[in-house]
């Protein structure tokens, strides 16, 4: 992995660690509500996570000793997995596409949603030509139909609009 001299401010900020600390506290409190046997292990793990998250917050702060925590706790950002730094809008858009894929599958069904999503993604986000985008959509439709509906004789989900039971049937 390449060395990254400076990680984006968003990544090194205190907030991811604070969120995880809050998550750990919530899990700890929930775990404490269970019977002794059920609570023992989750409470131990959540408790350990609270301690670790506090150190994570500390290493990201300007409180004295933060540098020592970073050195001995291995909390630096020199060897990040994600080297590029997309904008917030770009990330939100991309996550929106993924959530959109699921929403479309849930509402109109997998067989209809898959080609529409692929073609729309290639055309609108990828800026590919209409012919290529349509080709991708048709290719996915043929694959899904041939493999699942025809060869495996498996009926893919038809969507909330066309299935009885609504979300309860999930």
């Amino acid at each position: 992995m390449k060395e990254t001299p400076q990680a984006p401010r968003m990544v090194t900020s205190i907030w991811p660690a604070v969120l995880l600390l809050a998550f750990a506290v919530v899990m700890f409190l929930i775990a404490r509500g269970y019977s002794a046997t059920s609570a023992r292990f989750p409470a131990m793990v959540a408790g350990a996570m609270i301690v670790l998250a506090v150190f994570d917050v500390w290493s990201r702060s300007k409180i004295p000793g933060a540098q020592v925590v970073e050195t001995f706790g291995g909390t630096g950002f020199r060897q990040r997995e994600m080297m590029h730094n997309p904008t917030f809008a770009n990330q939100a858009e991309c996550l929106g596409w993924i959530a959109g894929a699921f929403a479309m599958m849930a509402t109109v069904g997998i067989l209809a949603a898959s080609p529409i999503f692929c073609a729309a993604y290639a055309r609108l986000r990828g800026k590919l030509t209409l012919a290529v985008s349509a080709g991708v959509g048709i290719g996915v439709l043929i694959f899904q139909f041939a493999v699942f509906e025809w060869a495996l004789n498996y009926e893919l989900y038809r969507g909330l609009f066309f299935t009885k039971g609504g979300v309860n049937a999930w």
Partner: protein, 506 residues
Amino acid sequence: MGLDALFEAFLAVLNGGSLLFLMAGVLLGLTFGVIPGLGGTTALALLIPVTYTLEPLDAMYLAGGVMGATSFGGSISAILLNTPGTAPNAATTFDGYPLARQGKAGLAIGASATASALGGLIGLFTLLLFIPVAREVVLSFGSSEFFLLTILGLAAIAVSVKGKLLRGLIAACIGLLLAFTGANQFTGETRFTGGMNYLWDGIPLVPALTGLFAISQMIELALKGGSVADEETRSAAENMKITGVGEGILAVFKHWPVLLRGSLIGTVIGAIPGLGGTVASFLSYSSTAQTAKDRDTFGKGNIKGVIAPEAANNAKDGGSLIPTVAFGIPGSAETAVFLGILVLHGIEPGPQILLQNEREIYGLIVALTVSAIGASVLGLIFARFLVLITRIDVNIVVPVVVTLSLTGVYVLEGRMADVAVATIIGIFGYLMIRFDYPRLTLVIAFVLGEIAERSYHQVRLISDGNVLEYMLGRPISVILIVATIVTFFLPAMRKIPWRRLTGSAS
């Protein structure tokens, strides 16, 4: 018993359609290896639902085909495009691409194919030698050792995710908490379900793995965008003459010490959970370059600079299976997803995996053996064609992989809720990549969480509540406790300026 299972697995490959599954896996592995950003873990995550309808042994052949072929696939794009298909192939670009630019692409690919195949075989041979020893060790284990082994495995992985110890441990805690979701196996009480009946059986493994490794990887790839290699490099690669392959094959035998050293480095590094192929290939490359008489020629097209990393990169597959098959602790993301395939076929991960599922484990070893050779042969034949695959636009790869992953997750149990889980965990996985929390420790903790809790409760019952006293009375447990403590504190101790301290004291 071991040899019988090995022989049976070899016969099974030769009989019936198993070889087809293996070759399909090899082709898929080569394809996913060639395209940067995809890799073996994504391919395996995508394959999990497909293996559902297969016999366990056929599933092993399909998975083994992928696992054995990805590394070599990645070396093709490293040599021809100067773009490593997978992270461990980065070291191959140093000398592979200069060789290709000198018109010796065939030499480099021939050497890479042979070093990959032989390195892979050496790694697997070491694994085979280790299995009988591992079986004896596991037979002497009780609940206490199983529990401590899980903790040691998690510690080793968190520590080895370089420069991310604290965040690795936090990710492991999240993985454990996710594993505790659902009905408690001892009391029957439901935990962390939020009142949803769907979660009574816990968070399903396959949607979780698909989300963490296929969906999140696609989000990251989509944001990276662009093309695999610039147009000029790509057209140059397509016009390169791939001749001199035979010379490349002979070069590996001529430089056999380089092959052997690379393979041993790969096997040892692979066996340490969490380190993986990137460390192995770079360590092998640097040690070869530092000890070579012609070290000045490294980086300018020295064939030994291709042999060393490729041998290590492929030998690590056998090495990384040592903790997986011996103790049920996946050594890498790829083996963690592979464990997911085992779970799907009713095989429980954990230290007893070797005792109870010998047939499947030997099946995987056979698959990896055939795959190591098959991938090299097919790769040599289709090298030029495989480079064309990198022409596929990322904006086509991303939606296709996303829809196929989600469809596969649905097909498994016919539940849309699984698709929702895969999507949510996929987005969460991306946030982990973005904020640099290692997914590997989370998924391994998630896989091992149930076993850890069960073993812990068993120890409590056996010891009448005196857990620590009971553990300290068992020699193997004591060794594991000491090993865990050393594992935790070793990286920190290395950072203490001992010389300065002793100097100031004197």
